[in-house]
Amino acid sequence: MRLSLVLIKRNIKLFFKDKGMFFTSLITPAILLVLYATFLGNVYRDSLTSGLPDMLKLSDGIVEGLVGGQLISSILAVSCVTVAFCSNFLMVQDKANGTSKDLRISPVRPAVLSMSYYIATLISTLIICFAATGICLAYVAVAGWYLSLADVFLLFLDILLLVLFGTALSSIINFFLSTQGQISAIGTIISAGYGFICGAYMPISSFGEGLQKAVSFLPGTYGTSLIRNHALQGVFGEMQSQGIPAEIIGELKASLDCSLYFFGNRVELPMMYLILGGATVLLIGIYILLNAFKRETS
């Protein structure tokens, strides 16, 4: 136990001291912020207001609440996965620079090393994502606060789940990597690609039908939707209390990926939790099996 704690401490320290890894992990959220500040914010606002019937007018507070909720849910959903990947690159870096050779000449069990990477990645990612959530909530408080205490609690729960999922997924992919070049390649693909496929840059509802179906097979999609639901639930409640018709709110929910469909069937929130949780357990199981069946290390 003491050994695991020392190794976890080592891995966390290395991630935060390695400026390259740390800042790389923040690239995607930073891109989102820049996109939002330059034009995405206006695109969101315009698409919200232009899609409504002429006689219906949303208050500025509601619009800002919707745009803000969409922004923070995008940033948080992306961060949970990309930060986990970058943090977990330590596992690959240790292989690339020979450190894993040094660790494995000792009598330590490979499972202890593997789990220390997983737990350290989990903690590092949670630290960054919870800090980011705090900043995002502060932003929402300024832009337009409609969240209840339960929404905030569920938001943190969603982030915890998505980080668990991102860490498990990155552990499996990084298991097969062993060079700096592979780190760069996967890092670029994840940073650039994950924002799109999870619906952070553009809502999944705006994709073509085929792509929407393909994306509905990815568990991360439901993680994004969970975060988005809890970030926007308060705004939708406020809209309802202001007398905006339920159909319009329903359409808005669908357009913002709060309502997801799997081959035409609506996926409810409990099912989203089940999919994300089940996928995480499955991925952790695969990671454990991969380590158990690993024989020759070099």
């Binding site: 003491r2 050994l3 020392v6 190794l7 401490k9 080592r10 320290k13 290395l14 001291k17 390695d18 620079n97 020979g98 450190t99 050779k101 040094d102 660790l103 494995r104 000449i105 000792s106 009598p107 330590v108 024989r295 020759e296 290390t297 070099s298």
Partner: protein
Amino acid sequence: MSNIIQIEHLNKSFGEVKAVQDLSFRVKEGELFAFLGINGAGKSTTIHIMCGQLAKDSGRIMIDGQDLDKNVDSIKRQLGVVFQSSVLDSALSVYDNLESRAALYGIVGAAFKKRLMELAALLGFEDLLKRAVGKLSGGQRRRIDIARALFHRPKILILDEPTTGLDPQTRKTIWNVIFDLRKNENMTVFLTTHYMEEAAEADYVVILDSGKISAEGTPLELKNAYTGDYITIYGVKEDTVKMLGTDYEQIRDAYRLAVPNTRAATELIVKYPAVFCDYEITKGKMDDVFLAVTGKALEGGAEQ
């Protein structure tokens, strides 16, 4: 002295490449064992197999009386390894690095701090504990590498080209520490090096070429078998040297004669006592042995 390492008929191939072929040798407890060969000769493969990092194709390895196939974890506790290039975490401090590596052997808390102070005093790095490893000089980093390898008091210290690229003073410091460890703790040292003057200090030498043993023996046995002696004569004229009828070369202030062995040197001196007023006899060097055995020379870490 008993055998602390015993390797019998070891084989390892990577696809078509036979990295190690029917390798057998023994290392006695407490001795300095030199394992020589050019890059790709099979040294690192053998070391990786000994450390349980790589599976062998066939053969048997006994270390400290234990079979590697059955007691790999126990054997790992008896081995300390200094790798060719430092594998410590350059972003972390010396203290943090050694803390994480010591924990791998169950050395934590007060036991860690006590051993740390012992090694810091032995290797002279008390003032470096808070410095990041990446900011240390090559010599300082090497001392930390050695401390990491010694932390769990291994019986066998494997040094994979430990002094390559270091300045002479640091090399001397490191060798002094290793000498003390052998003397005080009867530690066995398994050395690979490209510096032949280091190999000359070994108790036993194995020269590897293309995964097979080309030659083995004590440095003296190898020198006697593969090189001749040299007589350097000072204060004589070239005509006098020519008269001796032996191959020679002129050096700055003397002539160096090549003779097959010490007996031949003695016979020459006895035959021409007037010529040998100021002279010295030296054995061939380990570089000459290596060149004679493998047909290749080693210098500063590269094949020549």
